[in-house]
Amino acid sequence: MGNPNVGKSVIFSRLTGVHVIASNYPGTTVGYSRGSMKLGDEIAEVIDVPGTYTLEATTEAEEIAAQMLNSGDIVINVIDATNLERNLYLTLQLLERNIPVIIALNMWDDTEHRGIHIDLDKLRGFLGVPIIPTVATTGQGIKELAESIPRAASPDIPTHNRDERWTSIGNIIDQVQHITHHHHTWRERLEDASAKPVSGAFLATAVLAGSFMAIRAMGEGLINHVLDPLFNNLWAPVILKLSSFLGGSGLLHSITIGNIVGGEVNFLESFGLLTTGLYVPFAMVMPYIIPFYLVLGLLEDIGYLPRLAVLMDTIMHRLGLHGYAIIPTMLGLGCNVPAIMATRILESKRERFIAATLISIAIPCAAAQAMIFGLVGAHGGQYVAIIYGTLFLIWITLGTILNRAVKGFSPELLIEIPPYRLPSWRTVSKKLWMRAYGFLVEAIPIILGAVAVINILYAYGAFDAVVNFTAPVVTGLLGLPKEAVTALALGFLRKDIALGMLAPLALSTKQLIIGSVVLSAFFPCIAVFVILLRELGVKNVVKSTGIMLATALLAGGILNLIL
């Protein structure tokens, strides 16, 4: 346990070998992860607990932390050595409880150049528990920490009130720590510049624009120079051979390969397991997932995201949120599932409802975005801009409405801004690998399953009834061909393959735009739906779903009229 952003997740990873996402901002861990480590001859369970400043919780993540304390046998209290005074508040609260504590004095390497000197022996004397200096990112001190866990002690100090705790911390600090002057580093200068109104806004624009361009360039590069050539030059001939082997038609042919038009494989339109089923995840979505999570991981580890939260605070308040909601929103651009989990860093139920609803509707995940780029981008960048512009307008408008309509009030921003850190390639690449692998494991079975089931249903004409039933809404209101219903229905499973289904329909650019907006806005995919149910409860999800359907139909209808 420990304050937010002191490196608990990194220490957890080091102790257990379990990989968890760790970043340089408070609130990375919102649930808890379990792992195990060897302790002598026994196997001990280790739990990574969300950060908290106090055991008197103020957010859901902090509440989880306070509750976890009751189920543990030993607490490893992780302390940021560069912020000893504030971190000791939670430590004293822990020492007042009847539970053995051991302290990892983390970021030990950072104290020296900040001019902080800590007398370890004296500190051990005051607290009465083992204290191990550690540098979690490099692994320094971790072995000693693990070996010292059995020495964890409960000094059994009497319960104090707030002011008494601060008085004793004051005494400890006076005798244990002294600070010498140090020169301002370039990092601190940059930290100051990010906090000033004008240079901060300028920097934010540069960072966001730079990120977008980098992701696009890398994504397109991967598609044009690596994956498209691979599929077209190596995979296509194999498919053609297989096609003639299967006799060019029949149920098995349409499930595995799909339609071969004019003797050529069209990976996007053929719609078989081995054609579109592989092409969509590997050659269309994956090339954007990798650069997106690379850039996000870098921004996370540098410590930029909380600064963005501060700059966005005023705008976010209009939407009934505060600036920190920008972090779940940014995560949502990758995948809505972790984004909705991350809304736990927000304090009130009302904020969590608004944030989760807005993310499900107006924030397209990386898979959906990659498909939009692939499908609509081919017709021209301005059409992609129309889709993003529409979603942005929905985000602002709906947020403003929800802010007025949902009862309660939203608290103000109060967050710690982490120092800028040079990201370590080890953490960044590990995080990228976890997220990209996570995408593949979750997406591919669903995509392949969907392609197979749809081909079978098509072969038996099962869609006709549904298509005719929903035709008035789809054709009348949205101006889409009635076959698009299958794509919209499939959106419930996964957005990427659903957008892929629009490809063989020979839609006009206008129809593609409407289809993309409606698919992004209405009904979240099933994975998001499950998380929404868990995080918001049935009643709120019903409300949220109603809002989604209404918004998607309204936005689609309006686009149909004005484009």
Binding site: Y53, T54, E56, T58, T82, N83, E85, R86, Y89, L90, R114, I116, R162, W166, E191, D192, A195, K196, P197, V198, G200, A201, P306, A309, V310, L311, D313, T314, H322, G323, P411, E412, L413, L414, I415, E416, I417, P419
Partner: protein, 80 residues
């Protein structure tokens, strides 16, 4: 200690330092700020702010904390 001037965190200018004298807020606010080390008697330095009544960023100890504009108006500071 003469010529001490009391202002709110909002009214401070960037780069200025002072001692927190009082937090004019409810129990919840005082508790949250307290746990983050922002309490009467503590020295803080204002680092910057965001446009359009955005949050105020301060330095307390070695940590930087961003505080919403409304809250910042409730934190009283004795300038040093």
């Amino acid at each position: 200690m003469s010529g001490k001037k009391q202002v709110t965190l909002r009214q401070m200018s960037d780069g200025q330092s002072g001692i927190v004298s009082q937090i004019q807020g409810g129990h919840g606010l005082t508790n949250r700020l307290n746990a983050m080390g922002i309490r009467p008697g503590k020295k803080v330095t204002r680092v910057g702010s965001a446009l359009m009544r955005g949050p105020v960023t301060i330095k307390v100890g070695n940590a930087r904390v961003a505080i919403g504009f409304g809250m910042a108006g409730k934190i009283m500071i004795d300038l040093v």
